[in-house]
């Protein structure tokens, strides 16, 4: 089977793009990736997106992007896995090349969130769980994470501000990240001064809503970075359906499979781009991947393990919290950032000597988990 390489990436800075449409964002990211690749003939386009139908009155993003890029005739589609849509799009691109049917696949992740009213956006995000049994009782996605965080705090005797170390790490790393939405560092005290949205989650401990698009061009032809493994796993749709909601089974399985397939020793990973939508998601993800013991992720973070200068840097460009979280774009931003680290083009955010990187993107609360392991081609 063919190996899968990342030939180039293209990013739109994450932010509030009042003057750019959903299509503008996708086209800009795509053209950046195509320009960076040089002369490459694309034979498939895969778009990762969650909410364009509900928020932007637009579906059929595969044909829409092909048409906008002047590539009518090409095989093109959209994939959706809630907040994991971007990672799933990369996974489908990887599988496309592995199958031998395609040589060069353009993967684009996009979300245009700022056009929508907050309460409409809140409803759209809740669609990651059940319409019939989650949304009907008035739950939002943030409130489900709040319920989970409180269960964790109660179970492991961890305080809210212990977990708030994760947004602090994210924001510190974003200060020098050119494409980050918030290039501003803050402290745990600053987080504590911000209001609750759903106690114990505060405004400053929650990933923002963002506009953004990222593209990665995958190829069967050797390039600077190789994707060694791309694995997906699923958990029960609803948090309340799980025997132990504090266990991220999908992430655990996807990561385990990816490690086995890649042949990489998980202790040899140089950096991690995790799905830090909320502090609790960061903590449970690190615990599911085995980098921290159960209940100990915040403790390890406080000791500096996950700092940029620590043993295992995470969120090297600010993660979902500070780079921003354009939902369907996020998983593609993560892979693009891993490419930048492994190709030595991460600028001031360069993890020195980075050879192996991992990305973990989830849809829902670990309902779908997509893990990629990439290496620098020497």
């Amino acid at each position: 089977m063919s190996k899968v390489y990342i030939k180039s990436v293209g990013l739109v800075p994450v932010g509030e793009h009042w003057n750019k449409s959903l299509t503008d964002l996708m086209v800009e990211a795509s053209l950046n990736a195509l320009k960076n690749a040089g002369n490459v003939k694309i034979d498939r386009i895969i778009v990762g997106n969650m909410m364009s139908g509900y928020l932007n009155n637009q579906e059929h993003l595969g044909a829409l992007l092909a048409s906008a890029l002047g590539m009518k005739g090409i095989d093109s589609l959209k994939v959706e896995a809630a907040c994991g849509s971007g990672g799933m799009a990369v996974h489908e691109g990887y599988v496309s090349i592995k199958s031998g049917e395609f040589e060069n696949v353009l993967v684009v992740g996009v979300e245009k969130m700022k056009d929508a009213d907050t309460s409409v956006l809140t409803k759209a995000l809740a669609m990651a769980e059940s319409a019939e049994f989650t949304q009907v009782v008035g739950a939002s996605f943030i409130s489900l994470n709040a319920l989970l965080m409180k269960m964790y705090m109660n179970r492991y005797n961890v305080q809210e501000d212990h977990l708030d170390i994760f947004p602090v790490i994210a924001h510190k790393n974003a200060v020098t990240a050119p494409h980050a939405q918030f290039k501003k560092a803050f402290t745990i005290e600053d987080v504590k001064r911000s209001p609750y949205i759903a106690e114990p989650i505060r405004l400053l401990s929650s990933a923002p809503s963002s506009d953004g698009a990222a593209a990665v061009l995958l190829s069967s032809k050797p390039a600077d970075v190789e994707i060694l493994a791309s694995e997906v796993s699923t958990n029960e749709l609803m948090l309340s359906q799980r025997e132990n909601p504090l266990k991220f089974e999908a992430t655990e399985k996807a990561f385990k499979k990816a490690v086995e397939k890649s042949g990489i020793d998980s202790s040899k990973v140089d950096f991690l781009e995790i799905h830090d939508a909320f502090p609790i998601v960061a903590a449970l993800s690190l615990e599911a991947m085995g980098y921290s013991e159960e209940g100990k992720a915040a403790h390890d973070a406080a000791k500096g393990k996950y700092n940029f200068e620590g043993d295992l840097p995470i969120l090297t460009f600010g993660g979902l919290k500070a780079r921003g979280h354009p939902v369907g774009g996020t998983g593609v931003y993560q892979v693009a950032e891993a490419y930048m680290q492994l190709s030595g083009t991460a600028g001031k955010n360069q993890v020195q000597g980075a050879k192996v990187g991992v990305t973990q993107n989830v849809g829902g609360i670990d309902t779908t988990s997509i893990v990629h392991i990439m290496r620098k081609v020497s």
């Binding site: 309460s119 409409v120 809140t122 989650t134 739950a139 319920l147």
Partner: protein, 129 residues
């Protein structure tokens, strides 16, 4: 809220009707067609017990658009006395009474409505006992 979808599920929402696997006895809310434990498709209706304990709770200040007029709302994870974990709102909840371990009972309350002349949706909420 989608009126026809609500109508279809009205019994579930008001009486907490879930499922029981005829083969292995596992119980579920929401109801299932396939048993997650043994894979059997021999499933019967089963009404959940209406009492339970708060496992986790939160006060939501920015609810989704259909519930915007009712902010803030109190949401909880309840471990029913038959062992099933259920997500629901807390009714008449004075904040000092709400704590992990508090005993609750399901009751029928208004969830939301489609404007002033539209349908009023009723369903279960939990009250502290």
């Amino acid at each position: 809220m989608i009126p026809i979808a609500y109508w279809r599920n009205r019994k579930l929402y008001t009486r907490l009707i879930g499922s029981r696997c005829k083969k292995c006895g596992a119980e579920y809310y929401p109801p299932v067609k396939v048993c997650k434990k043994c894979g059997s498709t021999e499933i019967e209706e089963k009404e959940m017990l209406k009492t339970g304990t708060i496992v986790s709770f939160t006060k939501l200040t920015e609810p989704p658009v259909d519930f915007k007029d009712y902010a803030p709302i109190y949401l909880a994870m309840i471990r029913l006395d038959n062992g099933i974990l259920v997500l629901g709102q807390l009714a008449d909840a004075e904040s000092e009474e709400i704590k992990i371990g508090a005993r609750v009972m399901a009751t029928i309350r208004k969830w939301t409505e489609d404007g002033q002349s539209g349908i009023i949706y009723y369903g279960y909420k939990f009250k502290i006992i």
